[in-house]
Symmetry: C2
Subunit: 220 residues, 2 copies
């Protein structure tokens, strides 16, 4: 009953899986990403993952459960990437631009068709019909807001940002830029135009000439 050795090297008992669960989930994500939840059939998911239907059901449950797990995985990866982009080191402008550049790289994969954001562009279509999707969407947006917010608080603490600025509101505006990039990617907008928008947004958020009011120390 109680395993004393929770090693990963445990010998599984029956026939080994022919797939890597995380890779399969990533491929299922790719299928859902293109067409959304409703327009993606189990046949497409089966083809994308290389798993047949019964294996899909055994591994992830039904189509909806698979979609929810794909959303969860995607959100966690996105949040990790965002946390990394906002990590200490670069100044505020640079930090924010790293987030937007990472988003653009995700939304406009090199050599492939634009795809926008799996969470924003497919989750919001489904959210009115599915409370769990809506909850995941809401939770993810909140987390992304918080990542920005914490970065703004640090910027204030370091004198990079006006002390009177409201980090919560600024985080919402910073997120709005992310949301517009996701949407515009799906509308076919070009990378350069979107990056210019992000830069303009960053300038508005960070305020004129490196800080909002007083002149803090340059560089950081």
């Amino acid at each position: 009953m109680v395993q004393k050795e929770p090693k990963d090297e445990k010998a599984p008992r029956g026939r080994p899986r022919a797939y890597d669960p995380d890779a399969a989930l990533a491929n299922a994500t790719g299928a859902f990403w293109r067409a959304g939840f409703s327009a993606t059939s189990l046949d497409e998911l089966s083809a994308a993952t290389g798993m047949n239907r019964p294996s899909l059901y055994g591994a992830f449950g039904d189509k909806r459960a698979l979609y929810l797990q794909a959303l969860k995985r995607y959100t966690e990866e996105g949040r990790a990437a965002m946390h990394e982009a906002l990590a200490p080191g670069p100044d505020l402008r640079e930090s924010l631009l790293r987030v937007y550049d990472a988003a653009l790289a995700l939304y406009l994969p090199k050599g492939e068709a634009p795809r926008g954001c799996f969470l924003i562009n497919t989750g919001s279509a489904e959210s009115l019909n599915d409370d769990d999707v809506r909850a995941q969407l809401a939770g993810a947006l909140r987390e992304f807001d918080r990542e920005f917010e914490q970065r703004f608080r640090r910027a204030q603490a370091e004198g990079e940002l006006d002390a009177e600025a409201d980090p919560v509101l600024l985080s919402k505006v910073a997120s709005a830029l992310l949301h517009t990039l996701a949407l515009r990617s799906r509308a076919g907008d070009g990378r350069a135009a979107m990056r210019a928008t992000a830069v303009a947004g960053v300038e508005l958020i960070c305020g004129p000439a490196g800080g909002r009011k007083s002149r803090p120390t340059r560089g950081g």
Copy 2:
């Protein structure tokens, strides 16, 4: 036979329609709005419009054609409302807030469940699979951007906005606020929080204390 009188009062020849085409299209829009294109069945559309399937086909064509016409109608109404909100009269801040308040009223109908934006939240889910949807989405976003842009140009001409500001880039940021409101409505965010975000965005766009400060010109 040349009709000399192209009046609307012309007597149609066969059995009269039992529906009002524009009302039916509005009701179909409502059905698509909730669930998106793929997840809305013809039975639901039939129930929403009160028309049976053959009448739907006769009036609008197949499901996709109906969706495209719904999108077109919605976009035109939205653009008209936006144009109205940005019409001369109020100052820039007030003009922008009128747009965001109108959007919130549309996205969060009183007494009903939140629904977000039909175009943004359902169109972007479908846009990768349907070139016509993508084209309509892109065209609509462009039109909305232009409405903001023209308002910013007028604000500059009237000295309401720094002459060095870039109206194109500001319009993209102003649209980003619209996009985030659409998304957040569908995530369940509250009206007050969203309005506060819009106000904060307007303040950033209009600049400190009435709008005479250095603005970003070009990014890159």
